[in-house]
Symmetry: C2
Subunit: 713 residues, 2 copies
């Protein structure tokens, strides 16, 4: 059960906004981490009091030092521990005794170095719990808060970033140093900057929620190498996006199997499959980025400019080629080129040279100076068919770069629509870019990044405003019956439900199973078959026979009482031949589904994300194309529809190539009932409905076969 | 017929290496293009003689000016014309009279402004032909040659680039200015730099061939907005890659329909579909890039470092996070993480701290200094399991960035394997990056770009060394018969072949058609059907009925003489009902194919690329997934196989999901025969074999249906 937001706030406040900080393990030896930490706090103008703790020194950089934490005569809010890992325990114990509530443990040598380290990590966690302390780390770079009333650089980063509205959280300390350098060059400021390391106590989710609630933070950026509490993360991120209205951007590494194993060897974590991570982040409404650069490209758009109300962009350029490249990029990001109103075209015709292209992209021609950019931009942004402006400049011989940068910024600030820019080149355009950055006009080296940022900003606006109905809870289900069947099977030591039990669990959740019954003799098989209706499928019911198809223990299309009788005997004979001595409970007889399209539904229980629901079209679409979609259960109706549409072969169900339109409403209901079943019954480890036969619109669908693997008791 | 390489060389030599240059239209007015051009040539140290031509001035910048070209008393190699478009004709005429052989026409106002301009362009082309002159442009930025013995900046670019081994050709002048600025900041030099504008005379292909032959150029970069002579381009590029061993990189804009139409409104060109462009560039062995940055990222790897012999990389990093990101990127580019030899591991164990990760990625840990980088890099590059090194640095507090940059360069230069680098951040790492760039170690802001460049360099090596067998020419075909059928149909005013003619053309090229004949009565239909063998498909033969299926003029699975007779009458009745008065030549009767997988083969004649061959799997794969591959005819055998494997659904034919392995050899032969037919018969505008039924391995395939559209006479 996650802490309340108030509790998170109380735990983190001493760390982010301390009035006094003890640096435990400070030294006078330059070029060491303890030295850097102490000097960073000191030289970067911390607004409170600093207490160096050092067994050896009487003072450091002129500041009186204390031998032990307990020697400090005043109350202390935050301790930054930089001792070697073996001594951290003792230092932390003293912090507790002094009543310090917030701690940052910089020291490495814990979980990330193996079992011995993990044990040490557990010990310090116990000490923190005992004293009601909260800590960030261990094994981290530290914490930065740029707020002028605090101004704390409790990190060994090379530089303190400028104040800004972006909050950054990173699982990698080293990446932080590169990010700070990158951001400095691009003139990007931060509200809070945190390297959270092993997150033994304070988690990435706690930090994200704190930033969601932090007035100084407008945009939240996270670099993650693992997601250990996926479902909780999704829930927390979704709330921040919808309730606080702040975008959350995540760079999650370990996308490939090799990358994940490199991450594992470096963090000691076990990775969820990347397609589940991807689905979960989408469900949360998080903007997933593939590179650090992409994350900041999107962040500056979100932090500095109004959100676009639509996808219609006006491209303004002084050169045709880059206009074409930007058009390509815009279309690939599913933006639209705005069609200008007649009035706008008139203004263009009046104000631009005859050779100018007044369609979109608007080419103001190579000799354009600031006035022409001003007219083109202002008219475009005034046009109600335009949702934002993308301004491109190439440094031609007549181009007054800096003046244009000024004008672009002036015009942009007069409108409640976003303007992004791309001044192409590097040295010649550098001063122009600096002007744009200074005036909060996002600048992009590549038109591709500019268009992607526009699309992501628009996505975020849509996501923020979406009122997501909760997952449907059907009242007509019989949860108790399903649980009883599952519990009994587990109690009997089974790892998989028998066919008839699987169908009865699905039936309890009103999934459209076909009429079926278990036959214990050939004669009974004929009776049962007649009762459920021909044709039938027949399958041995035996936990000793796993791959039933391979041994001839499944027969399909049985179409008369006589053949049912014969099939019964054949199945038993085949089992006896291939699995002599197998215990047989009978033969499962089920009516066969009528014609329809085959789809696959599934549930998988993921250690980090809990129950995950899967949808795909049958056969090769799943197996060759891996054309499937996932969502975390419970799945809200809107996401049920979204996951169906994500599947590329979905048009097969909606009339592509003159095929019949299938009953997609019935699939929706099945997915929702399955999601409810998965949430209600943690006994289910894995469930496949393969295939679900989908009939024509209005005719519903039918579970032709299902397999349920059970969780270990 | 393209010029010989010698002829191209002779035409371009006066332009690239003139001993004397006339600037025709020079002025003393700063801030104008003519002023910039003249001063660029002068101040950038042209090694020959400059003659300004100006109706008004006696001298410009102290250099004696001439009123008319004909007034120049000396022989002149190159004229750069900067007069307004209306006067270009007269100036060019005088250039011809003076015996000038090379011209650069900077002036705009030709084809790109519409019909009037196109007429002017045609006029100047005629003048050039009359005098045996060659010219670049019109409507261009100019030409730069950095060779010290020439050192010509005949452009109005803001800066002259440094000398280097990259040749750059651009259809957009404005983009050139951005590229020069970008390259300057990244310390990238050029051999030749050309903005070729409207390419009325000298084409992009001429220039590419010249650079292929130019000893100063190692890598050729092109920005294109249109490809008007696609087949010639493919052939020329292929030769440069294989014979001169130089990589060709192309950024072709207009990838999307909207981008293409923006390009068209700006160049006046008509675009080939992007998937054909893509296939053609792949067939040529060209490295296609999506952005200017990607093009230079790849170019510096190709120009500065040895080509990788394999895909196995060693990642060396001082931080885990970036190591994970780089691993992800490497795997996504289909690189492999090298497995180090026991010896290498021993060296790592001996020389790196215990906490270092000695698997790949090698993490030398945050406090690593230059010595540790040196050991890790050198041991990795010595290992025969390693094809190249990717070196990553994050600026941590102990990191001696510049020394590491020096060491990385030293070690790299001692090996015949490539080393690329990514020093993450910006300001702090700037001096380190400058050292790397100065020592020709390619540097990348993003690990993704680094991995992509490695993969492209390896692709190029493979491409260069590939001995491509020529397309197969079957001797057993009857070209004359096919042509006769096609010519007769065209002469009869048809736009599409009748079913029986289509089959006879395919039969002439020995494509596996099914037995068929035309029946002209119900009785004949019964006889013919019996002769070709049941079951048969029957289809009306009538040029007045286009959509035969829709009117019930096609019947399938006819399985007895009686039903054939009945089918004949039904078809005629259906046609009479839906298309009363349609002229009917009979009913086409064809044996139906046995069971198999459906694939589609096609030919399309593209205005730029000539005959293009298409392959895809039948039905939804083509129509929903657009899962098809193209190649330009004639298609070499290796590319026939490559195009088959490009299709994502191809595993459906080779045993996926326990399906039978189909006769893919037979498909190969069909594609090759179709390619030969397409080359031999330009009368074919479009041809579809849909479907081709592919039987099990060894059983061949069969053309179930085909449609041939004819070229206009």
């Amino acid at each position: 059960m996650p802490d309340s937001l108030d509790a998170v706030h109380d735990r983190l406040e001493p760390i982010f906004s301390p009035r006094s900080v003890a640096v435990v393990g400070a030294t006078r030896v330059p070029g060491t981490v303890p030295y850097d930490i102490f000097h960073n706090i000191l030289k970067d103008d911390f607004q409170g009091t600093i207490y160096p703790v050092s067994p050896r020194e009487r003072s450091i950089a002129g500041v009186k030092a204390y031998k032990y934490v307990l020697d400090i005569p005043d109350p202390v809010d935050l301790a930054v521990i930089v001792f070697p890992s073996s001594v951290v325990k003792l230092a932390l114990e003293q912090c507790g005794q002094l009543g310090i509530k917030g701690v940052i443990i910089i020291s490495a040598g814990f979980r990330e170095v193996g079992p011995g380290g993990a044990a040490r990590e557990e010990e310090i966690l116990q000490i923190a719990r005992k004293y009601g302390m909260s800590f960030i780390g261990p094994n981290c770079l530290g914490v930065i808060n740029t707020e002028p009333t605090v101004h704390l650089n409790a990190s060994f980063a090379r530089r303190m970033p400028a104040e800004g509205s972006i909050g950054f959280l990173s699982q990698s300390g080293a990446l932080c140093t590169a990010v700070l350098d990158y951001a400095h060059a691009k003139n990007i400021g931060f509200s809070k900057f945190v390297s959270f390391g092993n997150k033994a106590d304070i988690s990435d989710i706690d930090l994200m929620r704190y930033l969601g609630d932090d007035p100084a933070t407008k945009v939240i950026l996270m670099y993650l190498e693992e997601m250990t509490h996926g479902a909780e993360f999704v829930d927390a991120a979704r709330r921040i996006i919808q309730e606080a209205g702040k975008p959350v951007l995540v760079l999650k590494s370990g996308r490939t199997q090799q990358g994940a194993s490199a991450a594992a060897s470096h963090t000691g974590s076990l990775a969820a499959s990347d397609e589940i991570v991807d689905a979960a982040l989408r469900q949360a409404g998080v903007i997933r980025c593939q590179t650090i650069e992409e994350m900041f490209n999107n962040a500056i758009a979100l932090a500095y400019q109004p959100l676009p109300k639509g996808r219609r962009v006006a491209i303004i350029t002084n050169a045709g080629g880059p206009g074409v490249l930007t058009t390509d990029a815009a279309i690939q990001e599913r933006l639209e080129l705005a069609t200008f109103s007649d009035h706008t075209r008139e203004v263009f015709k009046r104000s631009l040279p005859v050779t100018a292209n007044i369609k979109n992209p608007v080419d103001v021609i190579g000799d354009a100076r600031a006035d022409r950019y001003r007219v083109a931009m202002a008219s475009a942004l005034e046009d109600e068919n335009v949702d934002g402006a993308l301004v491109i400049l190439t440094p031609q011989s007549m181009t007054d770069i800096d003046t244009i940068a000024q004008e672009v910024s002036n015009v942009a600030q007069a409108f409640d629509k976003p303007t992004y820019s791309s001044f192409m080149g590097e040295t010649d355009v550098a001063s122009g870019i600096a002007i744009l950055q200074d005036r909060n006009i996002p600048h992009y080296v590549l038109p591709e990044s500019m268009c992607r940022a526009f699309a992501r900003a628009h996505d975020f606006r849509t996501e923020r405003e979406r009122t997501l109905a909760p997952a449907v809870r059907y009242a007509d289900v019989d949860a108790a019956a399903a649980r009883a069947t599952l519990d009994a099977a587990i109690a009997a030591g089974r790892t998989q439900l028998s066919p008839s039990d699987a169908m009865s669990v699905l039936e309890a959740y009103r999934l459209p199973i076909l009429r079926n019954a278990l036959a214990r003799s050939a004669d009974e098989a004929a009776l049962v078959a007649e009762h459920v209706g021909f044709p039938v499928a027949m399958k041995v019911e035996s936990e000793d026979v796993v791959h039933k198809f391979d041994v001839g223990a499944v027969l399909l299309g049985v179409d008369s009482p006589a053949s049912a009788r014969e099939a019964y005997d054949t199945i038993l004979a085949n089992v006896e031949k291939h699995r002599p001595g197998a215990r047989i409970d009978g033969v499962f007889v089920q009516r066969m589904a009528g014609p329809g399209e085959e789809v696959i539904l599934g549930v998988k229980r993921d250690p980090a994300f809990g129950a995950v629901v899967m949808f795909g079209l049958g056969g090769i679409f799943v197996e060759v194309f891996r054309d499937v979609a996932f969502r975390i259960a419970p799945v809200p109706p809107e996401h049920v529809r979204a996951m169906m549409h994500e599947v590329r072969a979905f048009p097969m169900l909606t009339g592509a190539r003159g095929r019949p339109h299938r009953d997609t409403d019935a699939i929706e209901e099945c997915i929702q009932r399955l999601s409810q079943l998965a949430v209600d019954c943690p006994q289910i480890q894995e469930l496949d409905i393969n295939p679900l036969i989908v009939h024509d619109r209005g005719d519903g669908c039918a579970v032709a076969d299902a397999r349920v693997l059970l969780a270990s008791p």
